[in-house]
Symmetry: C2
Subunit: 192 residues, 2 copies
DNA sequence: CCTACCGATCGGTAGG
DNA sequence: CCTACCGATCGGTAGG
């Protein structure tokens, strides 16, 4: 009784192709070929091509939420939690790069109703970060910040990893995340 | 003798549609309709759909280069030049949002040969930023930095503006750029 | 710049 | 899961 169903294989193939070429540039025949099927046979596993996209985006939203949400409630200073959250976010991008790319960009290809749904998941995730930043401002660990802009600044930079991360590269995700956290908290200006 | 040829109108329509829906989700019929033509008539102005994409991406590359390159040689401290460059980059994103989006993301839809060309333009632009950061490190204005990672961090955050910038929003590009520059140089940690 | 069209390919289905 | 197919639409062209 294998844990990996055919559907899982289809989802993985679709995520890779959507991330690599984009949703609209990927055909159901491409996806079917990757899993050794003919295009018609895919429809025994999925409802439609868009259904596939929605499932992948949902998975991405879950991955990020599950990685970061638990960090909010650990008994640590906000500064420490922010550093942990940044690493958790970037680790998720690196570990599930295709899914992360689809969650971060390709969700735009969804039809309006599904897009609205995704917008809510994204807002819920972004809200975790706003709370984290707010906590640090209130405790005096962070400067008074424009919360929305700071969240955009940090999250955009961290998510950008999906565009260039190379598992074979010299730096590990943990090392990159540590450098990014340092840039975010300390800035680039030299201090006496 | 109007300065705006039909080709300019076609390019503008294509940039808007490529940015909004993506290259593959946009049809030549969509573009033709926006400028009041039938799809076949477009081909009096362009060679192919991909030709249109390449022209827009090239324009984007030029816009960014022309905005930032002159700043490198002005007689100012690196810190000041970095702040100016960040504002110039973000102003370019805001002013030509569609073109910037196509330059930043949709270039992936190009065929391999054209993609290689774009990769060179991008590398040339990124090199301006590496030089700027290096100058500040050498002068002692910036901490010792991992140049590539810092460039990615700063440029990814700044470019992210294209995803959410609203010309009708409460904050102007200049205000957003100033806040971003402050985050980049000072970090978020409170200081005594 | 339009009329009229083309071959190719798309997402998806019926019936087994 | 395959065979055999479908209507729709795609990028692009010929001839005026």
């Amino acid at each position: 009784m294998p844990r990996t169903s055919k559907l899982d294989a289809v989802l993985a193939a679709a995520a890779d192709l959507f991330a690599e070429r984009g949703y609209h540039a990927t055909t159901v025949r491409d996806i079917a070929e990757r899993v050794g099927l003919l295009s018609g046979s895919l429809y025994a596993h999925i409802d439609s091509k868009e259904d596939l996209l929605l499932r992948i985006v949902r998975q991405g939203g879950q991955d990020f939420h599950l990685a970061v949400e638990p960090i909010l409630s650990i008994p640590q200073p906000a500064m420490q939690k922010l550093i942990l959250a940044l690493a958790a976010h970037m680790r998720t991008v690196a570990k599930s790069r295709s899914i992360a790319t689809v969650f971060l960009y390709e969700w735009r290809a969804l039809s309006p109703a599904n897009r609205d749904q995704v917008l809510q998941w994204r807002a819920s995730y972004e809200n975790l970060w706003t709370r984290l930043l707010d906590e640090g401002v209130r405790s005096g660990e962070f400067r008074p910040l424009e919360l929305s802009l700071t969240r955009l600044f940090a999250l955009t930079a961290a998510s950008g990893l999906h565009e260039w991360y190379d598992p074979e590269g010299v730096l590990s995700v943990e090392e990159i995340a540590a450098i990014y956290a340092n840039l975010l908290t300390e800035g680039i200006r030299a201090r006496p």
